[in-house]
């Protein structure tokens, strides 16, 4: 498989603050690659270096076969970027924003209008097409931003936390769009703070922490390395807890809270199996809840400390 993006020994510091400390990445063409990490891990800086906005202090990056330093124009012609903060012209309407992009890609008037109408429809913005962007909600702005990125038909798209701050429905819509893009052969470089998002979309995930890649692999490989997925059973009394602990086995019991934690992938089949194993004692269970590992668990497992310890101000050093 050919590589769409490669980075070797990527380094960047802002002042005496090291943001990227030797990153190696290889993204296969036509796949979704997710860079997962908390605020300040260096995700945005990585995207900015790959999209020619910021120069690295060391290392090499090739995007679409071109070096970002010596051939920035060729890189720019191949990529589309949608950042964390919507880069749209707030004083124009949604339609005007799209037509602006069409003009900058040197499309004909008719072709630009047709494509703009198509994208407005695809992103559920037709109704608001002629309204000024200042009247748009956050989700609408983000959709317009991505629609603008798609105008040039880029083969490689960088999405920097595309769903941060979106409501669940807009988030699902964004995911669906990303899947359709990959199905059409586009390479997606996605940064996210959310494990479920990377899990849902990515073919490969690299976990970034303090400017270093601390783990890399497919979602399955990563999840296997992370303990913490379990079903939690809560009981009304100690007798119920005792009986259930005997019936299940291999579970962690917490006598003080009258709960039993059973390692599990949390899927419906696993939960049904667990309840079958409990048999009659299932009647003693007060409450069943499923806990899947989140980014905090990943971080705790990989770095031995919670994500909250990372310095949020580094995110501003973009």
């Amino acid at each position: 498989m050919t590589s769409a993006i490669t980075a070797t020994g990527l380094r960047k510091s802002f002042g005496d603050k090291t943001v990227l400390d030797g990153i190696d990445l290889d993204v296969a063409a036509g796949t979704t690659f997710s860079l997962l990490g908390p605020n300040g891990a260096g995700k945005t800086t990585t995207v900015q270096i790959m999209s020619t906005l910021v120069h690295a202090d060391g290392g090499q990056v090739r995007v679409a076969g071109h070096d970002v330093v010596s051939q920035p124009a060729a890189v720019r012609a191949a990529i589309g970027v949608t950042g964390q903060f919507s880069a749209v012209d707030n004083l124009l309407s949604g339609q005007e924003n799209l037509l602006l992009m069409a003009d900058l890609h040197h499309m004909g008037r008719a072709e630009g209008r047709r494509l703009a109408a198509e994208l407005l429809d695809q992103f559920d913005l037709t109704e608001a097409a002629k309204k000024t962007v200042t009247t748009y909600s956050g989700g609408m702005k983000r959709r317009l931003d991505l629609a603008m990125t798609l105008i040039g038909d880029p083969r490689i798209i960088f999405l920097d936390e595309p769903t941060t701050g979106l409501d669940p429905r807009s988030r699902r819509m964004m995911w669906q769009t990303i899947r359709e893009l990959v199905a059409s052969g586009v390479t997606i470089f996605l940064t996210t703070q959310q494990l479920d998002e990377a899990d849902e979309l990515a073919d490969r995930i690299a976990v970034l922490d303090h400017g270093k890649v601390v783990a890399e692999g497919s979602p399955e490989e990563l999840k296997r390395s992370i303990p913490g997925a379990h079903v939690r059973l809560h009981f009304a009394d100690a007798a119920g807890l005792d009986a259930a602990a005997r019936a299940v086995g291999g579970a962690f019991r917490h006598d003080d809270t009258l709960t039993l934690e059973v390692p599990s992938d949390g899927g419906a089949v696993a939960v049904r199996e667990l309840l079958n194993r409990l048999g009659d004692t299932a009647g003693e269970v007060d409450e069943v809840s499923v806990h899947t590992p989140d980014l905090d668990d990943v971080f705790f497992a990989l770095t031995g400390r919670p994500t909250a310890e990372t310095t949020p101000e580094m995110e501003n050093a973009r």
Binding site: Q48, S51, T52, L53, V54, H55, A73, R76, A77, I79, G80, V81, G83, F85, S86, A87, V88, D89, N90, L91, L92, E96, L100, D103, L104, H105, H106, T132, M148, G152, R318
Partner: protein, 257 residues
Amino acid sequence: MTTMTLVQDSATMTRRSLRHVLRYPVSLVVAVAVPVLLLLLFVGVFGALKAGLPAHASYINYVMPAIIVMTAGYGSSVTAQGVNRDSTEGIIGRFRTMAISPTSMLNGYVVSALVRTLVSAALVIAVAIGLGFRPTADAGRWLAAAGVIVLLVLALTWLAVPFGLASRTAEGLTGFILIVQLLPFISSAFVPTDQMSTGVRWFAAHEPFTPIIDTLRGLLTGTVSGSTVVTAVIWCLVLVVGGYLWARVLVRRDLNR
């Protein structure tokens, strides 16, 4: 990047900025109303004193070139704010990830600012004529005056663009706005410099707005001195080149650095 695409992209960028003006025409109204109010104020307050002018001279004729310069100054502060908004809202970041020359972006700002400011200057002059401004210039001198105004607007705009790009917040532009709106006051704008105290007079004699205002005044209502015109033109060209080079550096350096 071919010349053809540079011209095409510059035109697209210019259209974008002009569309902002059409979308919010109030900004154009303010750009005309502020200088007209200043004109009324100065004629009303200082007109009675004649500001040490010969008895037959009319104060509105004396002060009008300064009002034109202040119209250009106000226009450039609007430009700086627009550039800064684009820069902080992120659309400049988008443009920079696209296969377009950064120069076309700068051209778009400058050409649209030139059109916008010339329109407001023309409207201000029209209102002033209605209020009693009587320029004595013939067609040739009007043309020369128009040329000086274009140069002045270009100079202030090429300065406004890098200030807008360099500032991380809208508040950071206060310095620039103060310079372009206050510096004309310490010049030959409202009273002849020979009436000022030594220090202020020295400053007024050497700052760029004095020769520019004197040139406009000479062309529109009196006689021009060749050396004043040359000084005015040199000042404008220095500001254009300096502002352009600074802006060029800013659009090529790392984003947000």
